[in-house]
Symmetry: C2
Subunit: 643 residues, 2 copies
């Protein structure tokens, strides 16, 4: 058991002093993962992923762009004008990765990058390596497209992480100088210019910088940028979330990542201000998203064109865009809503997105990434293309450092605290030292094989009176009556009614060694989608616990996966395969391949009914997050269901 | 009965001297439409549409660009760099519209434009109003993107039409000067440059110019451009049909209009050369298209992104792109394949595309156009958008003059001739004077209410021995056995076996006044699509004769059209509504609206089965070509079918 007492330290998003947030996050280093799922992934992120990404930052000129701005190098700016943001996101991820583990190689990289950033800052505080030298006079001339404020926001998040993890104030001071310049530049006062960012992110960055520094002006500026939207300053387009004031919006629109970052930033503002009009807008956006726009993965973005959210229920599978960053952004927004509202529905979506939308973005070996995340794939590539596979890097490389920082943050997603309460949002074996707002520090051990098993045992090492708020996932409600979730304390029955989709509160005077056991049965679920999601008509997706499953050609050879059909009452079972994909619970069972009337081989439309034959075979499904790790091939999530 | 004998005159595509074409088209003015469907549309095209388009060409600077190039105006080039093509397409359409009818206003416009074009030509023959003055030295520097050869191709088609209709050789001489320059510029000889057009069209234009002038060099140049593809000259992308030599291609790829124009141009080359390798490639492309890529409308292009053909069976409805020009291009290609091969399958697709993919592109009043043709529409617009409606013009205005020239050409689509044979491809009341290759001129009258009725009477006014090749549409094969198509001669039974999807040949010694009656029953058909077209799973589309039907909200109020369900054996009937949409046969019948479990109002995914209720109501379906002529609203083609 750890003996550290991390009274302060790194947190993902700080709401410690937020007047309107119900929950407070806990420091990342308050939670020591001991599990077989997230811990190895987080270690790989630190040991391999972030170092490989650093090499890419170096090789692609992203760091040279800072050296150039600092005057160390005479060369042209290389790459895309928003490439600074990749450096900042990497830096943030590297800091979180170092929050609880020493790694001198990574720490040296972090300090080198931090110094480079400091030296690249202009005397007046401006910081963007693209708008330097000849382009200095183009600063702030195209806020819609040129992403200066987006880069600034990522820098502020990185600077806060750096300050929390290293305890140093140098990079935070750089951030403050830049934030001060932004505050002076944009607004409605004489001598200021009006502005709104084409790509939101500054809102979250300024809010967090405000929390880290106590400077409320930064929060006000975040609110200014939010409120500047919908007045046509950046063109008035729904693509840029500028067609309507945010307070009046009824749904997310346009570019998925921008829409979600904006919603997350707005949630930060609600956490600090308690703005009830904004809060009501967030409810509308959230409810519309989860009932009309979100993939079963938790991902968003139905259209390749514009990387955009589509029409309601427009959820194509093979043609899904579902950018990895949008899946991460969904989890980020859900996390913030959860802190503000303390409602399990946000934890449900957060968990869904982390496992099924963010995690698929990186290969099991930690070195290759999906930018686009289709939910189905034909085994034959389109002419002139190859089959969709993870890539080691991208020209527009937003996703790789985004998934790295998310994995590095993972311990921070498990718990929050509030007055007298420890909140457990999602499960993973760990040892935690959690300080409640009133000062009590609760030590506990969590033992579980989650997400493979729904049995969780919490052992409390701190005596005293306090409560546990334990999330019972919404997916428990999909189980049969006999399979209801349950709770026991010290192996005995327990008073509170356990309802899925809610936090169950267990409040008592604990003794050292008391245990709480949560049983969340994990039957295999056949999930249907809304009838208006046309591609899924007559189909089901297999889920177990928080995980979405898919069929891959490698496990189901010689079958057209699109034509796999499950008998309505057919037996499906699951078992753990230690040797497969780093260890996964697979699903197997009887199914059939629908073999169509041969007329369909040459016809696309016909009026005469046709007879389909069924060829029985046994399916093997694997977690969707692990797909495409064994070569290129077909993949299918939504399976036909007979009858 | 007409007494003219149009031995020569305008034809859409001339194969009169083509060594490898089985069929020869007939002059447009050999066929005098007398019907209630196409004739009024063609008249409206001449009287209103083309004149309104002329005003748009004038208002948008497209004609001023020619005046500028001619030195009449000192101004900047206006609009998009390929805007010349709109002028050429308009000119071609106006010429065909004048083929058989005098209209001095339109004729004056035509002559004015023709003179302007002539005067805009550079001394060396070059003609493109964008690459003039300062931009002269940028000629041919970016064949992939700048559409110079595309514009040239449309000019050649217009020049041929102008020459055929006016009998003047002036514009044809302008075209030859430009074509000569192109032939000198591009090729593999010393001093020539290699090149391939990013947007095909020059192939058709050069082939037709070769036929009109007898200059085989132009045909050779068309073949050069075709064969230059697939070698990476324009980047090697499937989007530009450059990923593989055309002869090796197995499917259409990339930008739909480009792919189809290229296939049509290649078919022209096969018609002239009999190239069997190319001919085999065309078979592969065609078979792949009709079995994997084509909408039920005959349109193509599944993706907004890149206006592109998608993956096999990727056929979204609400998100269809299906550019009007692609529907027209499909008919253009089918027409050429038909002339080369004499196989009814090409006439089937041509007819499908003309009625259901080209015609929806223009409003019933002849003044507004669809660029994009969705096959379903939600009644609620996306935020920041309005509901999809036809527009009076577009910045990129390829579709309006394209539909105008297609309607102007319509008489030319009905017949072809070959040795001793009159081919009847599609039906419409008309009087025709058709000269067979051996010199016999056959006068005939066609009486029918097609497409509303499948009864057609041909009255032969020319005695003698010759044959009729009458197309029995493939859709007749969808009828029940009792509803088989049949033929009678002089009201008596008739020898030849009538098979749907084939031409039936009636060859005899005819007397004046002999009649042939074709009965093509037109039951309402419920057409299914291939199971891999996922959005259509469990759904049927209603068709009657060649026409596709749809539901519109205006006829079916207070119903979610996506949830309309037809009983499997429910009665559907059709009746003619003279007052509606210019006179249409409507389909009515019993259906129900599926009213979903209320849980679906807030859920997008759930594992618990739900019960749907059915609310019976009576549907009214109208031809798809006529949709969106009564204001903005929801529309649906594919309807659920029970059981």
């Amino acid at each position: 058991m750890p003996t550290r007492t991390p009274m302060s330290g790194p947190v993902i998003v700080d709401t410690t002093h937020s007047p309107s947030a119900q929950l407070r996050p806990v420091p990342i280093n308050a939670v020591t993962l001991t599990d077989e799922f997230w811990k190895p992934r987080r270690s790989l992120t630190r040991e391999l992923t972030l170092k490989a990404q650093f090499a890419h930052l170096e090789d692609t000129g992203r760091l040279d762009n800072f050296r150039r701005a600092a005057g160390d190098l005479q060369c042209e700016f290389r790459g895309i004008y928003f490439n600074d943001s990749d450096v900042y996101k990497w830096l943030e991820g590297a800091c979180w990765a170092l929050a609880d583990t020493h790694d001198s190689e990574l720490a040296d990289m972090v300090q080198g990058v931090a110094e480079l950033i400091e030296r690249a800052q202009a005397p007046d505080g401006y910081l963007n390596t693209y708008f330097t030298f000849d382009r200095s006079d183009q600063r702030w001339t195209n806020l819609r497209d040129m992403h200066e404020l987006y880069c600034a926001g990522h820098f502020f998040q990185a600077a806060v992480a750096h300050s929390r993890v290293t305890g140093e104030g140098r990079l935070l001071a750089v951030a403050q100088r830049f934030a001060d310049l932004i505050c002076e530049t944009f607004g409605v006062a004489d001598g200021q210019m009006e502005g709104a960012p084409g790509h939101p992110e500054i809102e979250m960055g300024l809010a967090e910088l405000s929390r880290a520094t106590g400077v409320t002006r930064y929060l006000d500026q975040a609110a200014y940028f939010l409120n500047a939207r919908g007045r046509g300053i950046i063109g008035g387009g729904a693509y840029h979330q500028d067609h309507v004031p945010f307070r009046d919006a009824d749904r997310l629109t346009g570019h998925a990542v921008r829409a979600l970052y904006l919603a997350a930033g707005a949630t930060d503002i609600v956490a600090e201000t308690g703005d009830q009009v904004l809060n009501a807008a967030l409810s509308r956006l959230w409810n519309h998203m989860v009932s009309r726009q979100m993939y079963i993965t938790g991902g968003l973005g139905s259209r390749h064109q514009g990387e955009a959210i589509g029409a309601d229920y427009e959820l194509p599978n093979a043609q899904a865009y579902a950018e990895t960053c949008a899946g991460i952004a969904d989890a980020m927004w859900a996390w913030r809503m959860l802190q503000v509202r303390g409602d399990a529905t946000y934890a449900d979506v957060m968990e869904r997105a982390l496992y099924n939308a963010a995690l698929p973005g990186i290969s099991l070996d930690g070195t290759a990434y999906f930018y686009v995340n289709p939910l189905a794939q034909d085994g034959v590539p389109e002419p002139g293309s190859s089959i969709h596979q993870r890539q080691p890097w991208f020209g527009c490389a937003c996703c790789p450092p985004n998934i790295a920082r998310t994995l590095a943050q993972m311990p921070g997603y498990l718990y929050s605290v509030s007055e007298g309460l420890v909140w457990v949002h999602t499960y993973a074996a760990n040892e935690a030292i959690l300080t409640l707002p009133e000062g009590l520090t609760v030590n506990l051990i969590q033992r579980t094989r989650y997400p493979w098993s729904g049995q969780v045992v919490l052992e409390l090492l701190t005596p005293g009176e306090y409560g546990l708020n334990l999330r019972i996932p919404d997916w428990c409600g999909d189980a049969d009556a006999g399979d209801a979730p349950s709770l026991s304390i010290n192996n005995g029955p327990c008073r509170p009614t356990v309802k899925s989709g809610e936090y169950v509160t267990v409040r008592r005077t604990w003794s050292v060694g008391d245990t709480v056991c949560i049983q969340m049965p994990m039957p295999i679920r056949r999930v249907r989608s809304h009838p208006a999601a046309l591609e899924n008509a007559g189909r089901v997706a297999l889920m177990r616990g928080p995980l979405l499953y898919c069929l891959e050609a490698v496990d189901n050879p010689d079958v057209d996966l699109r034509d796999v059909s499950l008998p309505r009452d057919g037996q499906l079972s699951s078992s753990f395969r230690k040797d497969l994909l780093g260890g996964v619970q697979i699903i197997t069972g009887e199914a059939s391949e629908v073999v169509h009337d041969s007329a369909w081989s040459s016809a696309l439309y016909k009026a005469t009914p046709s007879e389909a034959q069924r060829r029985p075979f046994s399916i093997t499904a694997v977690p969707y997050y692990a797909w495409a790790n064994r070569g290129a091939g077909a993949m299918q999530i939504w399976l036909r269901q007979e009858g």
